[in-house]
Amino acid sequence: MSSVPKTLTEAPAENSGAGIYLDHAATTPVRPAVIEYMADVMNTCGANPSSGHQPGQAAAARIDQAAHNLAALINAPVKGIVWTSGATEATNLALKGVAEFHGGGHIIGVVSEHRATLDTLTWLERRGTRVTRLGVDAHGHIDLAALAAAIVSDTCCVSIMHVNNETGVIQDVAAIGALCAERNIVLHVDAAQSLGKLAIDVDAMHIDLLSVSAHKMGGPQGAGALYVRPRVGLVAQIHGGGQQHNRRSGTLPVQQIAGFGRACELALGERETTHTQVCGLRERLWQGLAGIDGIVRNGAAQGAAHILNVSFPAVHGAALLTGLTRGTPALAVSSGSACSAARAESSYVLRAMGRSPQLAAAALRLSLGRQTTSADVDAAAARVVAEVARLRALAPSTLVQPA
């Protein structure tokens, strides 16, 4: 079996060498051990896990194992795991399911959430659910007092992301959970960026619903889950077949879920070591960039270890991205969220944090993984420094303020 490449092997034609992958917040390479495990599952478990015969039960056993692994990673009861196609579906199920159970009601979200949450809330709003979107401060954090003040008599759910996918900002989920538990309000947490990276304890943090994704932590794309605390009211959104106790119908993709479970198992044993390693590399990367004139770090140093978001005044992020993705070594990085790029807008997350549209458009997200090396980080920093200098030297003074 071929091993997972550490670097990009299919670099643009203009490049003479391989690139450096620093887009782990978008997706992580599937870990070799996960691939091996999935291959074994595909070779040995070809039956439908809902079938009562022996091959079917062998497949079901792999899914049970995966549920145990995920549950152990978040300190949850195994029966609370509902498999989905990813965090987006999990979030849709959580928010739509709770709103339908409560007949609409009132939901509180945050302006800097992922589009999976924001767009679902907008969808619900059009159908009668009242939505309050909390703002964030310059560091990307919500104000607990503002959350408490936003709660009304029919507030049925608070939805918040644990780690922001653009900036790495970490919300104080434990404090938010305590508030929600005190007011008897369901708390949904989008943990797509934090699963396997930060400690998550759904009991201690009073989390009722937790959306997670496999491909953000070394598992395969196409697998995710929603943790549902027992006795939390939730109406199913996908019907037909009655799988997963009618909470989410559809034949389960055994090898995907098994791979997710294997990734959870690996993460549980390595989380603290990996966190220390990646955190050190991120600071090394920051030190390599900090000398750039006018550079702004978006999000605090205390944010998630794997994400560094920076803005370079007088350099457009999309232009910088185009330059960095070509040349040698090519960098696989992001200029924030793909959603914002598609809408021809600068990052709504950064603008919510008070950044000007120009500074938000000048952002670059570099996200590291467990395979990232010091050499990768040093080479990436050197390329960014050179590219920013080159673009600034050519920038039109009539349109761009100097850094």
Binding site: A319, R326, E345, A361, L394
Partner: protein, 144 residues
């Protein structure tokens, strides 16, 4: 490797080369900026030089169009852009398409023309609109 889309090919042409080398009629261009040479119109027939400007609602991209016109046609048209490469490609294509045309014909250029010529996706169509808005803004300043 997937095919390079037309807008990116245009952006990557020599005058916008990421190596930074300038070539042709464009004297100073890069991935977030394309600035024209000083207009060099034919002597004795120039009647006006105007500048048009447009930006996106979030002002994360700005396009300026510089026009030199005689009584009926655009003698030379150049641009400066701060923004994504697709905007540079659109402004560059528009300058090439409009230069030498009558003002009426330039007014007739549409987003569909750019979309088709540069194979823009629906999400990139804003680049065409931005360049055309800047041109429209420039033309609106002409007393013709």
């Amino acid at each position: 490797m997937s095919a390079v889309p037309a807008w990116l090919k245009r952006f990557l042409q020599p005058q916008f080369a990421l190596a930074g080398a300038a070539a042709g009629a464009v004297t100073d261009a890069n991935s977030d900026f394309g600035m024209a040479a000083e207009p060099d119109p034919e002597p004795n027939i120039v009647t006006a030089t105007v500048t048009g400007r447009a930006d996106t609602p979030a002002t994360d991209a700005v396009c300026e169009i510089y026009l030199t016109v005689d009584a009926t046609r655009i003698v030379v048209m150049r641009f400066a852009v701060y923004g994504p490469p697709v905007v540079v490609a659109c402004a560059d294509w528009l300058c090439e398409a409009a230069s030498g045309r009558t003002i009426a014909a330039a007014r007739g250029l549409s987003p569909q023309d750019l979309q088709q010529a540069l194979a823009l996706s629906a999400q990139q169509r804003y680049g065409a609109l931005l360049a055309l808005d800047a041109l429209d803004n420039a033309l609106s300043q002409l007393q013709i």
